[in-house]
Symmetry: C2
């Protein structure tokens, strides 16, 4: 990590193996991107300001252009927000982890990576994933308990009938 202080969380973009302009390569402006992802333009700019996303392009004049992966990333942010109740700071951490994981997979597949290094990389990646998994699992079991409680109450009400 040798970038500047305000380095944003960047998605580890694949180096575009082969250019495929047919595969819906159309980039969206912020308006369309906002409409499709269901958040406001302001939210998109705000996420960017926090380093959560970076539109994969800009026009020569400086207008943001969003790719499909960008939109997927926004969807992920919303998911982490509404489902897990994470705040944007925590989400930044999660995304950083996931980006790191992608990096790891890239490094893993490089010829010049030694076998020992590969094992090491995988271990690190696995640890990252399992960290998030633990968080989610905790939430799930809590909700399950909540639901069980609710169901038993419903059963009691029902038994009166």
């Amino acid at each position: 990590m040798s970038t500047s202080a305000a380095a944003p969380v960047r998605e580890a973009g694949l180096p575009a193996a082969a250019e495929r302009p047919d595969d819906r390569e159309r980039l969206l402006g912020i308006g369309a991107a906002a409409a499709r992802s269901g958040v406001s333009e302001r939210a998109l700019r705000y996420y960017q300001q926090l380093g959560l996303i970076t539109p994969s392009g800009r026009t020569p004049g400086g207008l943001r252009r969003y790719s499909q992966e960008d939109l997927a990333r926004v969807a992920r942010i919303r998911e982490l927000q509404t489902l897990l109740g994470l705040n944007l700071d925590e989400i930044a951490t999660v995304l950083r982890n996931e980006d790191r994981l992608a990096q790891i997979k890239l490094a893993y597949h490089q010829e010049r990576t030694s076998d020992a290094d590969r094992r090491e990389l995988l271990r690190e990646g696995l640890a990252l994933q399992q960290g998030l998994r633990a968080t989610v699992e905790a939430k799930r079991s809590a909700i399950e308990g909540f639901l069980a409680d609710l169901d038993s109450r419903i059963a009691r009400t029902r038994s009166l009938l």
Copy 2:
């Protein structure tokens, strides 16, 4: 419903069938109540201001006194907040529903309630409970999906090993 406009959400307190001073009837001051429920004194006052709770007693001088049920109610609020991500407004609705359900159960057990009325009451209560259940269930299945996705990713990482 004939109470004043700012009527708070009140728990439908049982009429204290028999006074039992031995059964930990000690009421807590706001400081102790806050400590035990894990929220701040300010939060307790704020919840009251929003009509979510009403301390079951006040000293002659006006100090709040919280009962065990009050604390349970606070715990419920926190649960709805952190687990389901509801805001205090939505929580007010849920609590109102639950209080209504308690009322219904009381009415149900009254001799002077007709059988037809009882069925009607039960139906209403059941509907209220199932409303919340649906919300929670939706959340659960969403989280389950999230978790499944995570697990498949983990499996993929693992398969590299």
